[in-house]
Structures are given as C-alpha cells and as structure tokens.
Symmetry: C2
Subunit: 363 residues, 2 copies
C-alpha cells in the first residue's frame, strides 16, 4: 500500500477526523505506520480514545481502499491529500484542513480566486435573483463560485456561474457519490463539467445533518471571501461566515428589507462589520488584489474596431438579447453577429445563455 | 422697537442670512443698532456686500414687523430668537444656527430627545411602511419625530408619530404660513396640535427649491440622530445625513433590496459607517443615553395585577386589536377594557389609533 492510499484508508476509519488524523500522523510520521501500529502504541496517545485505537487496529485497510478506489473510478472521482501539490492552497491554511479530498472535475489555478455564495434553502425569489446575478457577474470576471449545492441560494449561485460560462465548485456534506438533494443531479453534472464536486467524506457517507457544519468550514476555507445572501439568524450560512472570519477571509452580506426574516442574518453580519454588498463591484473592490489585475487585462485588450464600436456601445452589465442589439444598432444581422463574436474573442463581451450578451469592461 | 422685534426685522431683510446676521450682530452688538447704522458703517464690514448694506439701510423695519406680527397672530404663530431660553438647545450648537425661528405649536423639554426620519418623496410602500412603523415605535417611547412634511417618507414619519399619540415636528422650506405640499394641510394641522411647525423663513416665503438644502441642516440640527429611509444617491435626505455628520449627530439608515434605486443612498450611508437600522431598538441602542432612562422607567412602573397579567401577556410590539384580545383572553369585554385602561395608565401599554394596543416594556 502506498502512502497516498494509506491516507485514503486512515481517513475512512470510523472516529478518525481531521484532528485525530493530524495527531496520529504527527506521532507516527506516516499513515502507513499508523495503520500498522500495535493497539498499545495507539492507546498511549492522549486524545486518541480506546474506541478510536481499536477502530484503527481492526480496520481492514487493504480491502477497503481497493473497494473505495474501484467505486471512485466508476464515478469519475479521484482524491487529493494534504501532501499533494494540487491540494487547494487556501484550504491548506485553515485550522485542521481535511487530510483527504474526493474530487470530481478539476481544481485549477484559476480557482485560487474563489468566492463562496451561501444562504438560505428557502430563499425568496429576490434572494435567488441576487445570488444568481452576483455569481454570474463575478464568474464572468474570472472568479470561481463555491457553494453547497443546497436548494435556494446555493443552487442559484451555481446556476449563475454556469450561465456565465464560469467556474463553480460544489462542496458536499455527503460522500462525493451521493448527490443531495437528488433533484440537483443535473445541476451537479453541469458543475462537474465546469468546475468540481468536492467532499472530505468517504464514499457512501449519507448527508447527515451533523456533517454540514463541518462541511461549511471547507466552503469558506477554499475561498478568499464568503458572500451571504438571505440567512435567518440561526442558519448554516452564518456558521460559514463565522468560519470565514476565523480563517481570516472576507465576509460580504447582501441587505434586504428591514424586517424580512431572511434578512436578519445578513443585517447582523453587516452590523458586525461584514461588507454590505449590492453588486459585484463591492466584492471585487474589497478583494483588492483582483481589481488591479482586471485593470491590467483591460489595458491589454485588443482595440475595438469599426462596427464593433457601435455594438459595444449598446452593451452594459445588464444582459442584452441579440435581437435588441440588431434593432438598436440598425446594422445587418451578419455584421452584428460577427462583431459580437469578435468582441467576445477580444475579451470585451461575454455571451450568456439565451443569446444574451454583457459587456465586461469599461473604456 | 424692542431688540427681539429688531431680530425679527433683520432676519427679514433681503440678502441677510444666518452668516451675515451673525457677522452684523458681532459688529454692532444689537440688531437695533444694525438697523439704524449709517450706510457707510455697514459697507465698511468685509463680507457684507454693498447690495446687502443698501438693503438693510432701506429696509422699512417698523412697518414690516408690524405687518409680520399681525400675520403671525392671525396664523397662531410666534417666534423665537437665538437669545431666547426656549430656543432649541441642540440647534443652538450648530454652525450658523438660524437667528429666528417661526413656530406654531409647542417646543417642549421632551423634544430634546428628537430624531429625524427623512427620505424620498416617491417612496415605495415598503419605505413608507418602515418610516411609519419606526416613527410610531420611537414616538411611543417618548422620542419626538422631526421631518420635513414632504410626500413619501416625511409624511409617513409624521403620521406614524401621530398614530402613536407621540410628538412630531415639521420643519418647512417655506414660510410657516405656507403649507407645502398643500395636500398636507390636514396633516400639518395634526402636527401643530401634537408638536410644532417650524420655519426660519419670513412669512410668505415660497417653497423655493433652493430653500430645502438650508432647511435640511435644521432638521438634523434639532435632532440627536437622523434616520434615512429610502433615498436615491442624489437625494435631499443624503444632504440631511451629511449635515448630521458635520453637526456630530448620529446617522441611521434602513437597508433595502440590493439593487433598488431608493436603497442606494441608504446602502451608501451604511458603507460609510451609518448604523444599519431595522427597528426601533437599533436607534434606542445607539443613542444610549435614552435606553437606561427607559430601563429606569420600567423598574418604576406600578406592578401588573390580576387579569391585567393575562391581557399584557397577549401584547407585544405588534399592534393588536381589542377584539383579538377579547377573543384570545377569553375574558369578559368590560374586564379586558378595564385592564387595558389600567395598563395604559400604569405605563405598560399604549393605545394606538383604530382600537389597537402595543406593549411598551418587557418584564
């Protein structure tokens, strides 16, 4: 058994979480040695209870990882350990990072600039609209949108990012092979194509309510900032925001009506110092590092020529349908289509779904 | 001519505003001497232009104040000068306070705890509802509500305070005899009965748009804090908020939907440090001095006895109709009515309009 496989196995042992995993690794040096250690040596470690020691000793590591790897291959999954270079750098920095991440899809360099958009499952149409729009606007500008695949705000955020043709990542409170809620199976498929599905839990782990607070620290841990859209005062989104603060990440909150139940959590965050967020500019501005690099991009864009100017001048950050552009520009259809294609290739505009277009840069 | 009358006269001279009034008074010692000063002496004062000097010299003071005072008596108006003990103490502290205030109604000691509620003329139903509710909740707790009698938020604030049976003050951008907009004549009547109509402008002054920014400094100047409810980014309410900051008063802003045009001003204020305000507690908390005195009141309230307990337990901060109380308490009608009367006299509840009741204190 290779050391990477031993990590996978140790992560599957009942009672072994990130804290005890780190403790055991510190003590024995490698996961392989942990799995082979005599019961007495395991029991001697303080904070490792006799139940955990027994669980490790009696764990059928070889056969379990063989089975787990077969299932991973069947599902298009692979795994990363904390020791792998590909492991998300920001996540590595948090307190007790997950030793093993199951992943379907890709984790790329671009995902270092990720923001989470989280909020209520029973969001209002207003909240879902804001989440979708923020995700779209940020994804179109190169930010990866991280969320939890839940109903409501989470789903709207993933969909907004997909609509923008951007990257988005869903972090599970279950095994990466168990899509929850099941009605989001198609959405999860789309996310896997344009980003990744991530989980720290072994395959087959059910979406137990107790998993979600633990999962939430991962959502914030992967990101430079967390945006909360609609959250009751006792919601999981506020737990994620708290994790973000502890991890030194930015917290953003979208306001709503003064006495709206789902605005209370966001308003409480704003009172406590979270950045009031109305639109993508609020996020880009606060993250700072991103804004200049975007500026540079603008300066490096190929110039706009001929009819493209007229088409570009009709575009703004609100999506505009191609028929509207044709009518307003008074240009022939092929000219508008060619201009849009050229503008998109030059990086000035982005085509969204439904033949609508947004402008990405001023100037 | 008495010195008080000379103040009234000098305040009526064209071109003489609060700044030149103070300058002239500093130079000549009394308003009477200013009005009698030779043209040359007036012209010698720097910052007093020749036009202003001529206007003072040629001003028919005696006959003008005779006419003005007759009109004031006819309208039930009187005036206060900066030298009068009754002049609002907080207003005295601002930069260039108005030398003369026309007043209809009363300015009482209770009005030292005044807050302004201001906002857009074309407010949404949401904004008007929040303004009305905040005004009612704060007025019921003894705060005086100051606003500008405009359509939208202003009118909702005055009405909320009146509904609570509280005190409210309208500050005019016209002469105190000119109700603007005229459709608020009845509202102004109600305000004069339960508070005051105030203006620094001579009678007959039309509501010229240029008067309102000047008027706005008075609204904030009279108050310990200014609450902005729905304001576009270029609105007069933001001018009032700026005055409040310059005058060292608290600024509160009510949030709204992320991209609502009338939320932009409030969100900008919150980003700049204004207190996000959802409900009356946010205001009382921030003003601090008020909260303890309210607490003391609670401790001094006469105890609740017998059937009163059952009735009080059914009341909260949301107004409840007496029929609902009768049904829910299962007590005879006269017992409920007597309990409510007793509770109101003891200071535990307040009757609002429409036979509804709110509870004022916990515990």
């Amino acid at each position: 058994m290779q050391e990477r496989e031993a990590w996978l196995a140790l992560n599957m042992v009942p009672h072994v979480g990130p804290a005890s995993f780190a403790l055991l690794l510190g003590h024995f040096g490698t996961a392989r040695r942990v799995l082979k250690a005599p019961l007495r040596a395991l029991e001697r470690i303080s904070s490792i209870g006799p139940a955990t020691a027994k669980a490790i000793r009696s764990f059928p590591a070889e056969e379990t990882i063989t089975r787990e790897q077969k299932r991973m291959v069947a599902r298009g999954l692979r795994f990363l350990t904390l020791r792998d270079a590909e492991y998300p750098a920001l996540l590595r920095e948090i307190h007790q990072p997950p030793p093993v991440l199951y992943i379907r899809g890709s984790w790329t360099d671009a995902d270092r600039r990720a923001v989470a958009i989280v909020g209520s499952r029973d969001a209002t149409p207003y909240g879902r609209g804001v989440a979708d729009r923020l995700a779209c606007d940020l994804a179109v500008r190169g930010l990866t949108i991280v969320s939890g695949l839940a109903r409501g705000i989470d789903a709207a955020a993933h969909r907004g990012a997909l609509r923008a043709g951007g990257r988005t990542i869903a972090v599970f409170g279950s095994g990466a092979d168990i899509i929850y809620p099941s009605e989001h199976r198609k959405l999860a498929e789309g996310i896997a194509q344009r980003g990744a599905l991530l989980s720290e839990f072994p395959l087959g782990t059910n979406p137990h309510p107790g998993n979600f607070p633990q999962r939430n620290r991962l959502i914030s841990g992967l990101c430079v900032g967390v945006i909360v859209v609609e959250a009751a005062v006792d919601s999981g989104a506020l737990i994620t925001a708290n994790h973000a603060l502890e991890q030194g990440r930015e917290v953003f909150a979208v306001p709503g009506m003064a006495r709206g139940r789902l605005s209370q959590g966001c308003h409480r965050l704003i009172k406590a110092g979270a950045k009031l967020t109305e639109r993508w500019e609020d996020v880009m501005e606060e993250l700072g590092v991103q804004a200049p690099s975007l500026q540079e991009t603008v300066q490096q864009l190929p110039p706009v020529e001929g009819e493209e100017c007229r088409v570009l001048s009709l575009l703004g950050e609100e999506p505009v349908h191609i028929d509207v552009l044709i009518a307003a520009s008074k240009l022939p259809v092929p000219v508008v289509a060619a201009s849009l294609l050229s503008l998109e290739m030059k990086g000035w505009v982005r085509q969204l779904s439904g033949k609508t277009f947004v402008r990405l840069h001023e100037g």
